[in-house]
């Protein structure tokens, strides 16, 4: 493959000039160090491929945690004009509305130190995880399913999972408007409906975390966090329900791309014009799957809250678990952002990227509106995760988007080969002070901290670029994996 020409705009941003079939330039948020280790031809090529899609606006963006995906790069952001643009299932990914939520509690590290193993065992028992499998609630009937797919997290709150107040602290209020259960393929119901309230496998997790560094104490306090506060983070998505929805629509979109004469640099980028019936059906089904993910995370919050209360012998009131925020990081949806000084309605694809609204944005819950939107960036299971807030430049420069995680550095198979025969659970306890419980030892090997870039370097790029600011760092003390 020919070498990709790069033009550095600042210490944090690199541009790939428009060449060939690219309709817009590419822009990568990365320092020279990150480019050196991560800027392989494959992932740069993927940024360029996305820039070729019809109706793309501004730039094909990559966040500093970008890496080689399939079709879109992981860490990719692409905005398409709401009238003339396209929607691409590959720009959302199989795990529709994979996302993260963070809850604060009244507990501190000292309250759980002596009985951490019992606490984690209780949560591990109560929240199903791992390959396939069922969920933590009775599988809903088809009629109930249509209701939950339309109404999202509110459906779970009505059934006693979490509190009414949680809803305003979820991106889009925990419900994407326009979900169409009728557009969801029957096979999605068959594969995924039973999995509500389950974590899944791969990089999904439930972590108990301790706030160990506060960068902006005033803001952290408003979120209910101080040093030593115990927090709970959940990373999961739409499970088999979303995976099958993406699978079924990729073949629809491959045919549509051909029918509408769209040249595809990679078949995984197949797409359809937003005005087409194929796009409308996909959006209806994808929004339904996104609402499924909101329900999934909301149910797990409720289950984790009860498990934590039981294991610590506290009432729910004493425990004081409150949702700080819930973000989507695999999604396409309609948002309005400033382009060339004017507001423009866009179909925004975030494939491994997080929305980061600036202060005073009307979509931020009233209690935080003056601060900016909370952004949750999980790191690896040994080092740290971050709570950020969206900054003023985000809506001008990145369609209000920032990074979503540490970004993988070493492949899953390389990790398994390197760690064969080692006691990884003990290593996690001795080296990182993290208690890990998992259903698959291989899963743990793939997710060991060495597999990831240092998340601190990633969030620092976005802070220096003026996109999102650090509020607090959270260190894991226990991690539940699939």
């Amino acid at each position: 493959m020919e070498t990709v020409a790069l033009h550095r705009l600042s210490d944090c941003v690199v541009e790939i000039p428009k060449t060939g079939a690219m309709r817009v330039p590419g822009r990568i948020y990365a320092t020279a160090d990150i480019m050196e280790s991560e800027g392989q031809d494959e992932s740069l090529k993927q940024v360029m491929n996305v820039a070729c899609l019809p109706g793309i606006v501004g730039f094909s963006l990559a966040m500093p945690d970008f890496h080689w995906g399939y079709g879109f790069p992981i860490g990719g952001v692409a905005a398409f004009d709401a009238e003339d643009g396209v929607v691409s299932p590959g720009g959302v990914g199989y795990d529709i509305n994979c996302g993260v939520r963070l809850m604060r509690t009244n507990l501190t590290h000292g309250d759980v130190r002596g009985r951490l193993r019992d606490i984690v065992r209780q949560i591990f028992r109560d929240i199903p995880a791992g390959v396939g499998g069922g969920g933590s609630i009775t599988t809903p009937s088809r009629r109930e399913a249509d209701d939950l797919l339309t109404r999202g997290a509110a459906w779970a709150v009505e059934r006693g999972f979490g509190a009414e107040d949680d809803l305003q602290h979820i991106e889009e209020g925990g419900r994407l408007e326009g979900a169409d259960p009728g557009a969801v393929p029957p096979r999605s119901y068959e594969r995924g409906l039973k999995q509500i309230g389950s974590l899944g496998s791969g990089n999904h997790f439930l972590e108990l975390q301790i706030v160990d560094e506060v960068y902006r104490p005033e803001i952290a306090r408003r979120f209910g966090l101080e040093r030593e506060t115990l927090a709970v983070a959940i990373h999961s998505g739409s499970r088999g329900f979303g995976h099958q929805t993406c699978e079924e629509f990729l073949s629809v979109m491959l045919r549509a791309s051909r029918a509408y004469g769209i040249d595809l640099p990679d078949r995984q980028l197949c797409c359809a014009p937003l005005s087409s019936p194929e796009a409308k059906r996909y959006l209806g089904a994808m929004f339904a799957a996104a609402n499924f993910a909101f329900v999934n995370r909301q149910v797990m919050k409720g289950v984790a809250e009860r498990a934590l209360a039981r294991a610590t012998g506290r009432s729910l009131e004493d425990l004081g678990m409150r949702l700080i925020y819930d973000v989507c990081h695999n999604i396409a949806k309609f948002e309005t952002h400033e382009v060339d000084g004017r507001p423009r309605r866009l179909c925004l694809h975030r494939k491994g990227a997080t929305r980061a609204l600036p202060p005073e944005h009307p979509l931020i819950p009233p209690g935080y509106r003056d601060l900016g939107q909370p952004v949750l960036v999980p790191g690896d299971m040994g080092r740290a995760s971050f709570l950020l807030i969206g900054n003023a430049r985000a809506s001008k420069d990145t369609f209000a988007s920032t990074c979503h995680g540490a970004g993988r550095r070493r492949s899953r198979s390389a990790m398994k080969r390197a760690l064969r025969g080692r006691d990884l659970y003990r290593e996690m306890e001795e080296k990182y002070n993290v208690l890990v419980m998992a259903h698959s030892r291989d899963g743990v090997a793939e997710e060991m901290p060495d597999a990831y870039k240092d998340v601190t370097a990633v969030v620092d790029v976005m802070e220096r670029a003026g996109i999102s600011d650090k509020v607090a760092r959270l260190r894991p003390i226990a991690c539940i994996k699939g």
Binding site: H67, W68, G69, Y70, G71, I74, G93, Y94, D95, G130, V131, G132, R187, E190, R191, G200, S201, G202, G240, H243, Q244, C246, E247, L250, L254, D266, R267, Q268, C270, R408, R409, R410, S411, R412, S413, A414, H439, S440, D442, G443, E446, G482
Partner: protein, 138 residues
């Protein structure tokens, strides 16, 4: 003759490259390799048989759909397969897949594959034999 499998180092996900003497062997080897990523196929008994039919216009799409169908059955019927007989007639592939009900402990669960992607998908004749590359979403 059995085909050979190379597990690829794709940063975020996992892929396989398969070589075999015939197209039938290629498909069979790829299917075994996929389930060997999920669990230890050597521990799976060919106790039950299911018939799988796929109609697609090209070999690469046929292989992808075949694997996707097997994966779907794994997630819905809980079947893990270890042995395949594959035949082709024009656009259609017909496979007899043998396996048993999946049990995470007994079959030594390894990795959940969410999907079979179109990214980098290749099936082609190669030096008198056949070659395939498939990347899975993990």
């Amino acid at each position: 003759m059995a085909g050979t499998v190379h597990v690829m180092d794709h940063t975020g996900d996992v892929g396989i490259e398969v070589r075999a003497d015939t197209r039938e062997e290629l498909f069979r080897t790829a299917a075994v390799a996929m389930f060997d990523l999920i669990a230890d196929v050597a521990r799976v008994a060919p106790a039950r048989e299911e018939v799988i039919e796929v109609a697609e216009e090209s070999d690469d799409l046929r292989l992808r759909s075949f694997l996707a169908e097997l994966l779907y059955r794994f997630f819905t019927n809980g079947m893990i397969f270890c042995d395949f007989q594959v035949s082709f007639s024009e656009m259609r592939l017909v496979a007899r897949a043998r396996g048993e009900t999946f049990e995470a402990d007994r079959h030594a669960l390894r990795t959940e594959l969410k999907a079979v992607t179109y990214h980098g998908l290749v099936v082609r004749p190669d030096g008198g034999g056949w070659f395939a590359r498939v990347i899975f979403d993990v």
